[in-house]
């Protein structure tokens, strides 16, 4: 178990791959490497590592990601 794994199945993260244009920003900004770039598109590696910080949603230029983010 990764030291920074929290409760599974609760993170409210929605990713729509069909909208992805492959800019790579989500993979750069995520603090827990939830996204990775594969074949020019973003893929969700492990949704349970998401802490809902909202960095990915804020930086996605095409609105392919939705996160229910709080203040932190």
């Amino acid at each position: 178990m990764k030291p920074t794994a929290y409760i599974s199945g609760v993170a409210q993260l929605v990713y729509l791959p069909e909208k992805c244009v492959g800019c790579g920003l989500c993979a750069i900004v995520c603090p827990h490497r939830v996204f990775a770039m594969e074949g020019g598109k973003a893929v969700l590696r492990n949704k349970d590592l998401c802490m809902e910080c909202g960095a990915c949603e804020r930086n996605c230029p095409v609105g392919a990601i939705q996160v229910r983010s709080g203040v932190g």
Binding site: A5, P31, H32, G54
Partner: protein, 348 residues
């Protein structure tokens, strides 16, 4: 809470004169940390001047930067700035300090104060486009929750380059032409990082501890007698301080090794372990057990409280387990307090 900067200039000793630039005079700061910097950092960790430890927003220079030098954005929380200036050692750089009201980068980003609007405002009002010939600005990766790189680009022409998570990787990042390794982009929660949060949690709990002890003394003195206070005070003061330390220092220390993923499960486990140890050491009586139950409730509460201080918990998860834990906390506290009321008089 946020004092306007008419207070002491916390960078007076770190300033090394000014640089004349196309946008005017820019303060140069050195890369060294002084005793006052280290003391200040430790102080805020204990809550001293925690909301009054900030510097004037604006542009600062490290070394002898020119129009080709890197620009690095950071918050006006002094430790944030201190970590950046220390770690650009070896490079010439401009540091763009945003007004985050004395809050660090990641927290301010979550709140929106280390935000797109503020970054755009600073770039425009300080005429960054006249200071540097390139159009890149390094923004800490943890500023991303508050920064839309696309919008900054559109409105200022500057490209946001997300830098490493930790300031200590800045130098390597710049040397590698803004290439970050996976490690530079991964947020951890190491033992040291966890323990750095403990002093403040403990100091906050201390106020309630003092209040509780005073209340206990008053209640027992006036409702029972002075002798009972004298007999039981060492036990009460000692074990509740123990519970406070368990909840604020031992919990963070043992976090990854405590059972389960929910902090309530981890916390309850630690609380039960504490109660067993405490009652065995002080003598397993109804009285000590009753106090033990109340202390369990306290430790469980402190453990849940810690979810707000981590680098990885999600709001959804915290809301879920907090709601689920309230009945347990209430039960433990209630049974404990009733037990204390019943058993204190007889010292049983």
């Amino acid at each position: 809470m946020y004092e306007e900067v008419s207070g002491p200039d916390l960078l007076r000793a770190q300033k090394r004169g000014t640089l004349t630039t196309p946008i005017g005079e820019v303060h140069v700061v050195d890369t060294q940390w002084r005793v006052q910097d280290i003391a200040g950092h430790m102080g805020v960790r204990f809550g001293y001047r925690r909301y009054r430890y900030h510097i004037e927003p604006g542009i600062y220079a490290v070394g002898e930067p020119d129009e080709t030098s890197v620009v690095i954005a950071t918050a006006n929380y002094k430790p944030s700035f201190d970590h950046v200036r220390k770690n650009v050692e070896g490079h010439h750089a401009w540091i763009l300090v945003l007004d985050t009201h004395g809050i660090n980068v990641w927290c301010a980003a979550g709140k929106g104060t280390f935000g797109t609007g503020e970054l755009i405002r600073m770039i425009q009002t300080r005429n960054l486009d006249q200071l540097v010939s390139h159009r890149k600005i390094i923004v800490p990766q943890l500023g991303a929750p508050g920064i839309s790189a696309v919008q900054v680009q559109r409105q200022t022409g500057f490209t946001v380059v997300y830098g490493p998570v930790r300031a200590r990787d800045i130098s390597a990042f710049i040397s590698a032409d803004f290439l970050a390794s996976e490690t530079m982009r991964d947020v951890t929660f190491t033992f040291t990082e966890r323990m750095a949060l403990a002093p403040l949690e403990w100091v906050h709990g201390l106020k309630y501890y003092v209040l509780f002890i005073l209340l206990w003394i008053a209640a027992v003195w006036f409702l029972i007698d002075k002798q009972t206070v004298v007999d039981q005070l060492p036990f009460v003061m000692g074990t509740y301080m123990g519970a406070l330390l368990v909840g604020t220092a031992l919990f963070p220390a043992l976090l990854p090794w405590l059972p389960g993923r929910a902090f309530s499960v981890k916390g309850l486990s630690l609380a039960i372990a504490w109660m067993l140890c405490m009652t065995l050491i002080t003598g397993a009586t109804l009285l000590t057990t009753a106090h033990g139950l109340l202390q369990c409730a306290i430790i469980l509460f402190l453990s849940l409280n810690f979810t707000g201080s981590t680098t990885f918990t999600s709001l959804s998860g915290v809301k879920l387990e907090t709601a689920r834990s309230i009945p347990m906390m209430a039960l433990l506290a209630l049974v404990g307090m009733i037990g204390i009321v019943i058993t204190t008089k007889g010292g049983i």
